[in-house]
Symmetry: D2
């Protein structure tokens, strides 16, 4: 059989780890806890071909071992951010195993916010999800990307869409007042690892949101470009950013047959189909 | 065929409506908008048997008409709360159609919070979902329930579980320090309709959360009971409340085989299986 | 606090158990396996009030113990059907624990079908899901319901909807040719437990499907009624059946603005909103 | 602002289209229908930069127009397969609009199988989903990939995992008898477009399944390699294939504390975490 194994990779996905951090010790009910939680995906590349082609497992670090590694290093590492913990994990695989040439670690954080100033109580959110992706590669600097997904934002005016291409299949009219609702996914690349991950994330998030509302939007495309530029302007450490902004259409409901005028008030919210717009902005 | 049609109902589900409310008119970019969005389920009961048994559709108010009704009344009604809009809808069906004896309307709100004080921008959340259920019935007062679902809360200490039933299938040890994480669903019944829905919801939500953190929890059951009582104490208008608190287990990961001690720090988050605990508290 | 604990229940949900059954032993590669898998929800009622009201856990059979019970009894029981295994579980709780008065067990089967006649290989399906619910109650006969959910069926003609109620909010025109697509959920009650669960399920499923296609449908309501009657006629052991048939609308796309006629050919498939129709048929 | 727009693309996702095909005309109740349904994602690249950087929409073919195109061409095209319809769509965008340089079309088919030999009734499946991806590019041949996702397959024996890397974090023991369950995603590339899409898909699917069961599996990696080779051997038109096989772990439940021996019979089915294995096989 003259077939080639052109690419191969494996690992463990959805390793869900949480850690309680106790900066100082006190009575259980008064010491101040931090709670961090993430789902970790690990993907390894390297000298694993014999496992595929010869049924020889000697080189395989079991995906179960990958899972154990996440929990062991969650104990050892301060786990301050998903970026720093991801870096610890990615570099561990490359430095520990000679035959692993590349380790990609993707993390989705489950956000917990303090509840009512209680030192040990939290309220969770499933919507806005901080993300990180770290790639450690033998002989190259580790690459850290940070990002966010599921960040729902909307403007109820100051958004239009007009003057677009006209052809036989166009039925959509021009509008200068529509709802602009999206669920932002963004990820940005850091120039090196000596970055304050917390401050950088905060600055980029704030800059994107401020830009989202500071202009009349001609199109999702235009606003995406403006938000991407704002992110880079707010954080010198970021060299490029990719934004994806699905257009979560809120369609004006036609009330005319029901004897009412819809003065841009009542809308149908839809999930399908949705406009999909992406762009990458670099310096 | 001597079969009976013992029960029947129909309606439209997942009617997703959003409304922009403009309390005062101004320039588009400065007037202050409110945005409310909900998914509405309508369920009708009444004299529809001939449609089932005789193929006679004359009594059916089409589910498409139900959908139209939601949008038409979203225009007419102030849509201040899902409770009040649900009541408008439920009573509309019973008062408009002589052959409808009962209309149940369930609403799931999609929460939008103002973004950065912008008059027309919002950020959304999928997690905590306010709910309402209104049942209008011919010859009886309309019944309004309000509630919440998807409210994730957790305590990293001040929670234990010990002294429970011991038998041949028990393997779980006693513990006096565990993570208590749940995704609260609650719904409460109002004595009558003359209720300030906004203030009542706020008072009940706040009371439940404050109670969640003010005691050492012997069990989910005990905390549920305490939270239910607190809710009723906080709102005279509520006559009963049902809480359901799945136990979203965070299991201590066994680090011993990896040469580390887990001092209640590193946990596996799990979705399945989960403990399921419910209770109804009345005055 | 004069509050009452009006209702309470608890248990374990989503206990996912699978079992390999080996009717006869042979070489591993030739013996014929059966594979059965289900997610089990257990809900217990009884003398648990002190756990809620006094923080006294002595009566609680831990939800972890409930989980253990599922796996232990999966070993002991033949696990031939979800109905029989559910009965074993429900009756175990009531017969083992004096203070448990009622045990409800709900099972969702994950279907595995044999793959290519291999004795030990299977292909799975997530769509059509056999269900069972068994309630064991102290001093009363155990009640067994069987059912199905997620059974997607569609007719591309022989279905219409006309002559329905006409009012100010109706915009839907009459039609005598539309797609009828639904995702059937049905559950039926057995008169007693001496039932051939496999044969009964098969007969009811077959009868419902045959009836779905044998007539011109005036409405979902009418077809639901006919299918319910057919189910009862096909199985003497079933005393009643409840069907729920969401109308998964396939809407004709308006091609006229695009210069084409849509001769009932091209449709938009939608999930939201959907018509919701239910009915219970008894003897 | 010296920022660059390094990459950009947009389109419409989740355009859900279904088509009834009537090979010959007859009485409505006897003519034989075919029903095909898919969700279509369209992604366009080309001269759209001014929309991003200058707010100039003239080059934008609205995502709404993309949607209209799907339905119009569903009317014109025979829509025999998702591959051929995808090709029609992708090439339409590049040939119709001078400024579009690349059009990617991804299709997920919703499978409908004939119900009980009825000429116009079908039963659906959500699990195994045929996929296609077609990329039309100006000045280059159109590239067609076909694939499948969600194909659940399992072996209850003839699968082991032993001899893998041993280190401080390994706790998993060797085994020579375990359940091998996966949800196969595969996609293969066709050398050119003159392919019988139906026969090729059928041959590849059959070859992969036959290979899945014909050997003792040393690892998921080995079986993936064997299945990939079998696919290429079964279809000359395919030049490469990528398979991804998550390991849907079925873990042996420890019955020892419950006084029972688990003779490889009773398992816990889990979704998280899961092993993730991928490989690309070429000629």
């Amino acid at each position: 059989m003259p077939h080639q194994l052109a690419h191969h990779a494996y690992g463990k996905h959805r390793v869900r780890v949480s850690k309680i951090k106790r900066p100082r010790r006190g009575a259980a009910s008064t010491e101040r806890h931090e709670l961090i939680e993430a789902a970790v995906d690990i993907e390894l590349e390297g000298g694993f071909a014999p496992a595929y082609t010869d049924g020889d497992n000697a080189s395989i670090v079991a995906t179960d071992t990958c899972k154990n590694t996440v929990y062991a290093l969650a104990k050892d590492d301060p786990f301050d951010t998903i970026e720093s913990f991801g870096r610890t994990l990615a570099e561990h695989f490359v430095s520990t195993y000679d035959h692993i040439t590349r380790a990609g670690v993707t993390l989705h954080q489950h956000s917990w916010a303090r509840l009512l100033d209680c030192p040990h109580a939290f309220t969770g959110s499933d919507a806005e999800t901080p993300t990180a992706r770290v790639v450690a590669q033998r002989g190259a600097p580790t690459r850290v990307e940070a990002g966010v997904t599921g960040l729902m934002i909307a403007k109820t005016t100051e958004s239009g869409f007009s003057g677009f291409h006209r052809d036989a299949f166009r039925t959509l009219p021009d509008t200068d007042d529509r709802i602009f609702a999206t669920e932002l996914t963004a990820s940005w690349v850091y120039a090196d690892q000596e970055v304050d991950f917390v401050a950088s994330r905060s600055a980029i998030r704030k800059a994107m949101l401020a830009r989202f509302i500071d202009h009349y939007s001609e199109s999702v495309q235009q606003t995406l470009w403006l938000m991407g530029q704002a992110a880079l302007d707010a954080c010198d450490a970021a060299t490029s950013i990719t934004l994806t902004m699905p257009n979560k259409h809120h369609l004006l409901f036609n009330l005319a047959p029901l004897g009412r005028e819809n003065d841009n008030e009542v809308f149908v919210s839809t999930d399908e189909p949705f406009g999909w717009i992406t762009g990458t902005v670099t310096r």
